[in-house]
Amino acid sequence: MASVKVVGLQKLYGSVVALSNINIDVPSGTFFTLLGPSGCGKTTLLRAIAGFHSQSAGDIFVDGQSIGDLPAHRRDVAMVFQDYAVFPHMSVRDNIAFGLKQRKVRAAEIKTRVDDVIDVVQLGKFADRMPHELSGGQQQRVGLARAIVVQPKVLLMDEPLSNLDAKLRVELRAELRRIQQDLGVTTIYVTHDQEEALAMSDVVCVMEGGVIQQAKPPFEVYSRPSNRFVASFVGSNNFMQVDLNDSKFSLRSTGEFISSSVRAPKSGSFVGAVRPEDLDILPSSAQTEDDKKKLDVPVVIQEVSYVGREIEVYGQTSNGELIKAIGRPDAELITLAPSDKVIFRTQKEKVLFFVDEHFGVRI
C-alpha cells in the first residue's frame, strides 16, 4: 500500500499535448478514479504511471520515491486491462502465477498465494481451465487476480468493465470495490462511465483536454462542479442564460432575480445551471408563489419521453433555450403533449452559476 503523487507531468506527441501539467495526490488506500470522455488523456496518464510510455516532463512518485525513469517491468504497479489481456496459452493458474514467477517467489508460496487469490475472485472451479473456456467476466476476474496476487504497491485499472454487458458490469463493480477495500490497495481507475466513477470512488478526478478539471469526492464533484465542463459531463445539467446587474444574477428569459451579492467579474456572459431532477413540472395554471426562494421558468413543451421509471419533459424557454426536467410519471404528467405550456420550478439555491465558456469557472 502506497501513496501516489504525480508532479507536473506532461506528455507531448509531436506538437500535440496529450497531458498538460498534471498534478495529483493519491493517499494510500484511496480508490482514485480518472473520469473523462474518450481522448481526454485519462488512459495516457494511467499508462504513464504504468511506464508504458515516457513522460515529456514531470515525475511520478510512489511512497515518495520517484518511479518516472524506471522501466515498466520494475515499477511494481499492477494493471488490469480493458481487453483482459489474459495470456491465451496459459491456464488460469499459470496466468495468476506469472507475476510471482517473475518475482522469483518460491513454488510452494506461489501455490498458496494463487490458491488464496483464486478464492478471493471466486474462480475456484476454473483454476485449471484455459482462458478461451471462460466468459468475459471470468477472464476479467483472472486479470484482477493476476494483478492483486503480486501485492502491488498500486493497482491500475484501465476501463476493466467496459467490455462486459450492463448487468455484469454493475455486479462486478460492487465486487471490485469490496476487494479493493478488503485489501486496502491504492487504486487508480480509469473509466468514461460517470455512474461507475461516482459509485466506486473515494475521489473522482475529471479530465478533459489533457488537463485535470476537478479532483474531489463523488458528492462534491456532482453537487459543486468546479467548472461548466464538469457540470455538464458529470450527470446532466440545464444551462440558462443569466444577466449580471448590480452584483445580482437574473434569469434572462423571465428577468427574475435569482441571487444577490455574488463575487463575479464585472463583465462577461454567464449561465445558470439546474439539474433536471431539481426541476418540478407544474401546470401553467399553478399559483405563482410569492416565496422568494422559488424560481419559476415558464416553458412550451417540445418533447415528452416516457422512459419507465421516470418521464423526461423538454421545454423551450421564452428566449429559445431547451431545458429538461425529470418527473415521476403520474397520470397528470403522462398526458402532457408538445406545445402545452408548463412551469418548471426549482429552489433558487439549487442554481449554480458559471462563466459561459467551455471550461467556465463556477462563481
Binding site: 504504468a50 513522460q55 494493471m79 495470456f87 518475482r103
Partner: protein, 548 residues
Amino acid sequence: MQKKLDLWTIVTIVIILLLCILLLLPIMQILILGFMDADTGAFTLANFQKVLTKNYYVNGLKNTLFVGILGTLGAGLIGIPLAFFTARFKIRGKAWIQTLAILVLVSPPFIGAYAWIMMLGSNGFITNAFKAIGLDTPTIYNAPGIILVFSLKFFPFIFLMTQTALNNVNKSFEDAAENLGCNPWQRFRKVTLPLVFPAVSTGAIICFVLSIADFGTPAILGRGFRTLSTIALGAYRSELGGAPTMAVTVSILMMAISMIALIIQRRILAKKRYASALTNLPVPVKLEGWKNWGIHIFCHGLVLIAMLPSIVVIYTSILKTKGPVFVGGFGFESYQRIWRDAPEAIFNSFSLSITAALLITIASAFISYVIVRRETRVAASIDFLMMVPYLVPGVVMAIGFVTVFRNAMPDIFTATVLLVMVYFIRRLPYGVRATSSSLRQIQPSLEEAAINLGASPLGAFRMITIPLIIPGIIVGALMAFITAINELSSTVIIYDSSTITMPVQVYIAVLDGEFGTAAALSTILLLSTGICVFAVFRFAEDRESAVL
C-alpha cells in the same frame, strides 16, 4: 528528457544496419557501377548509351518487355476467368483447383521450361506423336514458349488474388446493376471487374515483375532469344576479373522496369479505393447443362495443364535410362546417377536453404515485432524496405553481392556465405510477412501485461509473443525454405564447384540434354516443396495469403 536505449530501440538499430548492409549497399553499388567507366573508373553515361543504342541490348530490352507483357496478359486471361468461375458458380473440386494453383505457384520455376521441351520440343513426345501422323506442332522455343510458360506459371497470382477479391465484393452492387438494367456481361464489365481491379492489377504486377526477373525460362527456352536476365548473366561472365559495368547497367534497367511498373500500378490504384460493407456476400450460382460442363472442363483443364510440367517431370524421373538416353520401361537409374554424380548438389541445396530459413525465422520475429508494435517512422520504412527484395531481380541482387562483398573480402565472403546471405535477404520478406500477419492478431496488451507483472521486454517477447505467433513463424520459415531451395537466378551468378545446388544442376543437366537426371533432381525439389506446402496448409489460418 534523455531518450533511454531500451531493448527494442537497439533491435531497431540492428535491423536498420542489417538492411543497409545487405539490401541498400548492394543496390547502391550497382547504381554506382552503372555510371562508371570499366577501365578508368571515371563517371560516365556511356554504359547506358551503349545499352540503349546497341542492337544486342535493345533487342534484349524489347524481348524482355514483350514476353513480360504477353506473359502477364496470358496469366490474366487464364487467371481472371478461373477466378470468376470459381467465385461465382458452383464448381465441384474448388479446393482441389486452389490447391493445384498453389502447388503451381511454389513449384520450382524452371521446371515448366524444360518439361515443355520434353513435351513440345524438337524431340518432345507430343511433337513426335503429331509427326507420326504427319502434323507439325507450333514451336516451344523462343518467345511463344516463354510466354506460354510464364502464363501457365504465374496465373495463380492473378487467380488467387482476384478470387479473394470477388468473394469480398458486396453482392448488392451486382444486384443493383442488374436491377438498373445491366445484362450479365455488362454487369461483369461495368461493375464487378472495376471493383476487383485493384486485386487483378496487384496480381498482374507480381506476374510482370517475376517475368522480367525470371532467368531459368528464357535461359532454357531461348534459342538465340535473349532477355535482360540472360544478357546480364552473359555480361557478368564475360566481365569476370574486371568491373562488371555492363552487367550492372543491364541490371539497373531491369530494376527500373520493375519500379516503373509498380509506380504506374500504384498511381492507378490511388484513384480507385472502394469502401464496401460486407453485408451481402455473393452466393455461387449453379449452372445447368453445357454451361456447367463448360466451366468445369475449363477450370479443371487449365490447372491440370499448369500441373503438366510437374507430372511430366516426375514421370520422366522414373523412366529407365542408359546414360542420357531413355531406353524404355521404368527404372531408378536417374536417381542412382544423381546420387553417384551430384550428391553435393542435394546436400548443398538443403544445407544452404535450411541455414537461410533459420536465419530468416529469427530475423523475422524481431523485424515483425518492430514493424507491428513500434509505430514510428523508422518502423514504417522497415516495412517499406521489405518490399524491395521483391522488386530486385535475383541476377541483379547477386551481382550486387559479388561486387560489394566478394570483391572486397574474398576470404570471408566465400560462395557459401554469399549464397546464404543472398537467400536470406531475398526470402526475408516471406518470413516477415507470415510472422507479422500472425503478430497483428495478438493484442499488444498481452505483452504489456507481462511487462507490468515484472517480465523484462525480452522476457515478455520470449514467454508471451513468441509462443503466440509460432504458427506464423512456422509458415514463414517453410515459405522461406521453399523459395530458397528453388532459387536459381542468384545462385547461378554466385555458385562455384563446391556450392552447386539442385536448381543449378538441373539447369546444367537440361542444357546438356540430360533430361533423366534433371527430372530426378526436379522431383526431389518438387517433393520437398510439396511436403512443405502441406505443412503450410496445416499451420496457416488462410492458405492463400500464406503463399502469395
